[in-house]
Symmetry: C2
Subunit: 281 residues, 2 copies
């Protein structure tokens, strides 16, 4: 594995790979890697000639008072994990490389962004689509791999690529979970023991609620989710059931849906979701 | 010259050219070609292996009540001129090809866009940077050629490429003028005889004002411009003197400036500009 830190070197490598006809798989991350990221790398290695991973904690997608400064970082451990999992090129630029000056042009998620996590994080997804546009331009991936855990992000990235005609294909990979069902996340390290024991209830409650939705509709499903979560120390940020990937209020004719929730614990805000269908396909 | 109308075919051609190591020059236009466009093609032919021209009247950069529907179009004449001037590939998609649905993600010019033409055309430059991002993604040009006549556009495109790290180099080409000094423009066909005789005064007044600026400062330069233009039937939209390419109010320490103006005639709004320095370099 080679580590690249400058835009210029990364672009030269990309251009050479293209000229050789190599297919580039891309796994963009903010580092502090866990098995969720590794599952993205596995898919990329299966489907590509060369796998590029980026590690870049993107200041543009953190709001004021959010956890940019204390977002967990461990680049030495990350490098080891990336190499072991089959990454060929690690792109790890400093902030000034991607943003040498205040951007005079940015990218804006105009739909799918004002619900779920977007409702409480204004501008977050604008930061996500801006940095992904930059990374797509530098890495020129044939395929890019995203986790289903960040379902809203996956839906918005789908819109980014279709709207701006990036030539990368978006592959969404199933959420990797702990044995007790908790979705893997870099932020899980901030849970204390009690919270860690409570956290799998989010996934359980989502599963129950999607079943209740099918039988009894949205109001009852949301109510049961809230009841299930109310016994935890964590505080419910949102529970929503929407169409996927459009993230609209479901009508009777909509059958592909997402149940998504966010719960705030003392030092970590956890998200999870289930995508389900309301009839046999 | 071949004509391409679909995104898919254009992307395949681009990918093949890249694999062959060919350098792509790109001239994006809205058609109704004139010598200004031809001068961009000439530069591209000089500096590239393959020249791609796009002709696409972009609805996103026209505001409500602007001239999208009656923007002049003559594709047969354009094809002839493009081929004669050395274009290898003409990309001429319909609106539904670039915008198959309402875009869920767009690009936004956050600086340099609220002065000059941007002041009276809110959202115009957002439409410009969105369609250019799409075209850059489809054409993957090594160099892209823009006219200095659209100086604010050139400044914003410079910001687009630097902010989002597009790998294309922006080449700005000097304004082509009629013998009497009027800048070539697709909209000149809408001038009546009297207006056509008056229109070169815009360039004359810009030249005078830049000289007056150097001797006597901005206030006097703007005043003289207004006086010069007041005798015309055309109505002054704006006259501004700003730094270039940042488009900020000039301070004593700023020496690279632009004097830019827009004048509304009955059926055409004309723009022109001069870039000048306030001291010997």
């Amino acid at each position: 594995m080679i580590t690249v830190t400058t835009v210029k070197e990364m672009q030269q490598i990309t251009e050479n790979l293209k000229q050789q006809g190599k297919k580039i798989g891309f796994v963009p991350t903010m580092g502090f890697l866990h098995e969720g990221h590794m599952s993205l790398v596995n898919k990329s290695v299966e489907q590509s000639d060369v796998t590029v991973m980026s590690i870049f904690v993107n200041p543009l997608q953190f709001g004021p008072g959010e956890d940019f400064d204390r977002y967990p970082r461990d680049i030495d451990r990350d490098k080891k994990l990336a190499e072991e999992s089959g990454v060929d090129i690690l792109f790890n630029p400093v902030v000034k490389e991607l943003y040498p000056a205040e951007p005079s042009v940015t990218v804006k998620a105009v739909t799918r962004s004002d619900v779920l996590c977007g409702a409480s994080r204004p501008g977050h997804f604008d930061g996500v689509v801006t940095v992904l546009s930059i990374l797509f331009n530098i890495v020129s991936p044939d395929k890019s791999f995203f986790g289903q855990k960040d379902a809203q992000q996956a839906a918005i990235v789908d819109g980014l690529v279709k709207s701006l005609h990036f030539s990368t294909e978006i592959i969404t990979v199933e959420t990797v979970r702990e044995e007790d069902g908790l979705a893997k996340s870099s932020r899980n390290v901030y849970l204390n023991d009690k919270e860690r024991k409570e956290a799998p209830a989010i996934y359980q409650a989502l599963k129950n609620s999607s079943n209740i939705y099918i039988k009894s509709g949205k109001e009852r499903a949301v109510e049961m989710f809230k009841k299930h979560i109310s016994s935890l120390n964590g505080e419910l940020d949102y529970i929503e059931i929407l169409t996927y990937p459009e993230l609209q209020e479901p009508k009777d004719s909509d059958h592909r849906l997402i149940a998504a929730a966010a719960v705030r614990f003392e030092r970590a805000r956890l998200i999870d979701n289930i995508i389900f269908t309301t009839e046999e396909v």
